[in-house]
Amino acid sequence: MRDLLDKSLVNLDPNKVREFEFFLKEYIETANAGVDVSKASVFYALVIQPAAMFMALTNQNVDAFRRNSSLQEVLNLPEAADPQIVQALLSNFGVEYREGSNAVGIVHVFLVNNAVTTIPRGAVVTHGELSYRTTTTTIGVPSRDLVSRDTDALIQQAETGAYYFPIPVRAENPGEEYLVTQGSSMFLQNPPTNYVSARAAEDFRGGEDADTALDLVERLEGGISGKTTASRVHVKALVEEQFPSVRHGSVIGMGHEAMTRDRNNIFRISYGGKSDIYLQTEARPLREVVTKTAKLVNAATNTWQVSFSREEFAGVYFISRVVPKGSTDLGSLAITNRVPGVDLSPIEGFTPTFSHNHQAAFSAFQTFTVEFVDTSPVPHGSEVFTTTREYDLTLVVMPHIQAIQEFIADPWRGSFRYDDVVRAPIPVFVSLNIHLRVPPGATYSTSAIRDSVVRRVNDLGFTRSLSSSVIVDAVHDNLSQGASVIMPVDMYGELVNPDTREREVFRSATNLTVPERPELGITNDTVMFFVLPDNVDIVVEAR
């Protein structure tokens, strides 16, 4: 630990020493005008000056002791905060410094042939300047009967004809910038001879930045809070302690215009007792691919149906893509019908009150049925509701919603009188078109700009309004002098309607605002904007 107390006279505040000198000189002069206390005097040199200096030093050290007992003051000191002091102060609040976490994910390695292929543990996979390493040795094998260990992976054939198998990777460093999205191109260093390419098989998850000073201060109240559902701050503390990936939360309760669950009475007046806990549980929603068995429901229209239980659909916003199992084609089969539902069987003994499906949207109680058209020929003799096929469906989901609902509803935490439903924020998915002008020869990184924009938007917290100035500000953090953003910035937002689960489109060049509809829970306290990296288009013009 750094020495808190100053033993040297070198760093003394000269104004303070001067003030003490004045004080002593005036004290003596006033009483005895004959005494020489000028700077050239012996009195000054031997008595006044040393006394003033030592007094200033003592006071400075006492003040340093006080300042170092406050995290706020420690973080505001001109010199870098001593980590040990910060740690010691945090311990008073039961808070620990988080060093960040490394993103993890699955990468598909594409091959020219279906031959046994080994990717050793620690192999380096890159995405631009970001570096990952495989966490296990994976052996791709050409047939299922050769799969004998957990680390064996079956090589599959994509519709393009290429062969691929999955390998698990982990980012080399902690940080949110390592959260690549599904489909991102990756590069395998020292690849096998039959290697073609590599691609992220899913959205990576888990990558978190190390705590900043602001993060630490923000967490102090949660540190001393009782970890209960007693109030909004207590809920925050409870959830964040158990689920540190939670970024933002908003607790809606009695009297909030979005709280419609407590108005099940003839006067439609809030009577309390219920809360909706909206949580952003990761930096951004994730895309997850699940394979489901679909039933043919209409042979004439080639319509197929897939149903999701609430466990499968907890926190899911929408289905972004439906393709035959294993297909790597771009695009999706056409979704023709969406039927949201509610499963009210108890979770940990808790059954919430819903009077309408939209009240359960994006929660752990929602269920979903989707219908889509697959024009590929239906086998002869197929029967409706009997014939099945397997499809890969990509879900856009805010993870952990079910786990947090179970945690909150646990009998040791939940209360008989409280009706607390955990929900993912009502989302607006944003696409951006950013046009930059940079001086010839200037250096810039579109990936850094994209990352900065994505972080800024996804970290806005709850709001119905996204200003283009937020985007411009984030871009400028990564531009050198002379570069500029050509206005306007094209912002395109898709709100997932909590009632219909259809996507409603909004567009603006200045301020992307979603109208308030409290009857559907769409308010400033429940809506969040999300942007995925591949939805940020950056065009650069060198001039």
Binding site: S70, F267, G273
Partner: protein
């Protein structure tokens, strides 16, 4: 020698302790005495600083200000030109000869103070045996980092002046100087993200909310927080009232353990001989009504139901008076329809009752069915089967709100001077259960308004005997439900 109270700041005591040579034989006792006085005074300042540092360890003792017995003040001529104009919030009353933007008396002799200096009792021209003593309030005032003299200090020959590079600097000593180092904010307030100007109210508010956070939202902590934002104390408890006395500038309630001071005009709720329990209301300035058993609700003239409380876009007011239950005949399906008088815009009132009937149909029992007094409820009730009258506000409270809402009834004109005010209750609201709400009833001398707080930001307003105003009173901004990793804007 003007510092006292401790032996180490007394030159004579120090000399006595130095031994016979210095105390009896040394020739220049006067100079020695002054030197020891001066040194002792500096040690006193260090002692003060140390004591303050100790006190910052507790939320209940954290000092409001850093106190300095004597602080050198160097005032630079001409530095304040841009800061002289008076602003709103500085306590000026405009319109009576004074116009906004106009300089008040003394503004012309104004100087910027060192950062953090918020006050002092006197200004001396010398550190000891001063020939000039200026008194706060009479000769100068300090506000918002500016000191304003009644007379031009630069023309006062007793004040020493320096001239450095053509700039005139006045040198004075500020006695009992208060420096705002924001101890409360820097040691406790920042944890809760609540900033106020340093004050006793701020300290009490932070302390109360800290207890809410650590221990949960107890009644006691809520009352202490209310006391902090209004400056109106509740009883400490286990004490007996010995005297209730009123003067022109205050009401004082004396018990065998405490003396409680209130603004004049506050109505005492206790009298001599009363035994007080913890949290008991002593005056009617701030009252917490959590049960219909508490007769205090009966003085509330009405209660509004706005979009936040009832959804939709309507606002109606339910009066606290007995009104007739109005029989509206039957609807097309033969269901009995009844209403009682609620106030508001006619379209809102109509929409309100239409919704009530529709919800009743949806739920299988209309409002009339619910009010049916028959023991055996067969068929639709007739007019004779229904109560004749109803108290709308009591109905609202007893049927809907009583379980999870409570009322805070306040008279702001009797709040303590300098009290932060109700706006800060939003911080309390964040720390109360989301499943509950509080409703604030504000009684002013001219008119009674009420508004809903906690989540209930919107409201209808209510006026005794007059039609409800169309505007709403948004006195409390609800930032409560939101939490995030990025601190809200607390400063």
């Amino acid at each position: 020698m003007f510092f006292n109270g401790y032996s180490f700041d007394s030159g004579n005591v120090i000399i006595e302790m130095m031994g016979n040579f210095w105390a009896k034989w040394f020739g220049d006792q006067r100079t020695l005495g002054n030197l020891m006085d001066g040194l002792g005074s500096l040690y006193y300042e260090t002692f003060n600083l140390t004591e303050e540092t100790f006190n910052t360890l507790s939320k209940d003792t954290v000092p409001l200000f850093h106190l300095r017995p004597c602080k050198l003040l160097e005032l630079v001529h001409g530095e304040t030109a841009l800061k002289l104009l008076d602003k709103y919030g500085e306590g000026n009353e405009y319109g009576n000869g004074l116009q906004y933007g106009m300089r008040t008396q003394g503004s012309e002799f104004a100087y910027t103070l060192p950062e953090g200096l918020v006050g002092c009792t006197h200004l001396y021209n010398r550190v000891t045996n001063p020939g000039l003593v200026l008194t706060d309030g009479d000769d100068f005032t300090i506000q918002d980092g500016v000191i304003r003299f009644v007379r031009d200090p630069e023309k006062n020959p007793a004040i020493s002046k320096l001239e450095e590079n053509g700039t005139v600097i006045l040198r004075l000593w500020a006695r009992n100087a208060k420096e705002d180092k924001e101890f409360i904010w820097n040691h406790f307030g920042y944890v809760l993200h609540i900033w106020m100007k340093s004050s006793e109210h701020y300290r009490k508010f932070i302390s109360a909310l800290w207890d809410v956070v650590v221990q949960g939202p107890s009644r006691a902590a809520v009352q202490i927080a209310l006391s902090a934002v209004t400056g109106v104390p509740f009883a400490v408890g286990d004490e007996t009232v010995e005297m209730v006395t009123t003067s022109s500038n205050r009401l004082v309630v004396v018990t065998d353990k405490n003396a409680y001071t209130f603004r004049p005009g506050a109505t005492p709720l206790v009298e001599e001989g009363d035994h007080l329990t913890f949290g008991q209301e002593i005056v009617d300035t701030v009252r917490v009504i959590a049960s219909l058993e508490d007769a205090a609700w009966q003085v509330i003239p009405g209660m509004g139901v706005g979009p936040r409380m009832a959804g939709g876009g309507t606002s109606v007011v339910m009066e606290n008076s007995t009104v007739d239950l109005e029989y509206y005949g039957r609807d097309a399906e033969g269901r009995t329809m009844v209403r009682f008088q609620v106030r508001g815009e006619p379209a809102d009132v109509e929409a309100f009752w239409r919704n009530v009937h529709r919800e009743g149909i949806r739920n299988g029992e209309t409002f009339a069915n619910l009010l049916d007094t028959r023991a055996v409820k067969v068929g639709q009730p007739t007019e004779m089967d229904l109560p004749e009258t109803v108290n709308p506000m009591e109905f609202l409270l007893s049927q809907f709100l009583v379980n999870n809402a409570f009322i805070i009834s306040v008279k702001p004109e009797h709040f303590a001077k300098g009290a932060p005010g109700l706006g800060f209750l939003t911080h309390l609201q964040r720390r109360l259960p989301a499943h509950t709400a509080f409703i604030i009833f504000v009684e002013t001398s001219g008119r009674n308004d009420y508004y809903e707080a906690s989540d209930l930001v919107d409201s209808a307003a209510f006026g005794k005997g007059v039609a409800p105003p169309t505007d709403s009173v948004d006195a409390v901004v609800d930032v409560g439900p939101v939490f995030s990793l990025i601190p809200e804007n607390c400063r």
